[in-house]
């Protein structure tokens, strides 16, 4: 894989309307279903797939690098999964993707770039999203 220029800003124009767009979330907030294996707080390049209909009481956070107290009461503080559904229901957005993707904390940038990121890109592409929202705690 070629190196990315320090000055390069990857940019894909948006063509379309929000009210007909399918929107997904990719997050580094360490959110996961309570039934899924937790992330390793010290560093973890794995990811979890979160169903689009997941709600706060089904989710938790394994991440020790930000204050999670509010988000554990209401996951939408950092991972607006229910907010996205609400906007789709009222017609502001077309729909959500069938699932979203969550990563934990990691500073293993080379491993993320060479292994995790290509896998994540392949996974996300299968959702056929029009827009991906990124959140980071």
């Amino acid at each position: 894989m070629s190196e990315i220029s320090r000055f390069c800003i990857p940019y894909t124009p948006f063509v379309g309307k929000l009210e007909t767009s399918r929107v997904g979330i990719v997050t580094t907030t360490g959110v996961h279903l309570r039934t899924q294996p937790p992330f390793t707080p010290e560093g973890d390049t794995s990811y979890r797939l979160i169903p689009a209909e997941a709600t706060t009481n089904q989710l938790t956070i394994t991440h020790e690098h930000y204050d999670r107290s509010e988000a554990l009461k209401d996951i939408n503080c950092v991972f607006p999964v229910e907010t996205l559904c609400a906007l789709a229901a009222e017609g502001t957005l077309g729909s959500t993707t069938s699932e979203h993707l969550s990563m934990g904390f990691s500073q293993a940038l080379r491993e993320i770039k060479e292994k995790a990121a290509p896998e994540i890109a392949d996974t996300v592409r299968k959702w056929k999203p029009d827009i991906i929202l990124l959140t980071a705690g």
Binding site: C8, I9, P10, Y11, T12, P13, F14, K17, L18, V23, V26, Y66, D67, R68, S69, E70, A71, K73, D74, N76, C77, V78, P80, T83, L84, A86, L87, T92, L93, V124, R125, P129, D130, I131, I132, L133, L134, T135, A136, G137
Partner: protein, 76 residues
């Protein structure tokens, strides 16, 4: 290979800028762990999310971070 339009919501624009996001939205004064607002603030969450998504339909220079204040919301 085609890309996917993205928008980032960040409470730390200086750090986020280093990752060169294509578009980023900064709700000014929001804390880490509350990037869309505090627990239970569903309308604020919705407002921040729609403001971030608006960056898609009002394109800026690639890499622009848009800052917005929410006067009714204080985290001092």
């Amino acid at each position: 290979m085609e890309g996917i339009p993205t928008v980032l919501i960040t409470v730390d624009p200086e750090q986020s800028w280093q990752a060169r996001p294509s578009r980023a939205f900064h709700p000014v004064g929001f804390r880490l762990g509350q990037s869309l607002g505090p627990a239970g603030a569903a309308e604020l969450h919705k407002k921040v999310l729609t403001d971030a998504l608006d960056l898609l339909i009002h394109p800026q220079e690639p890499g622009t971070i848009v800052h917005k204040e929410y006067p009714g919301y204080s985290q001092s």
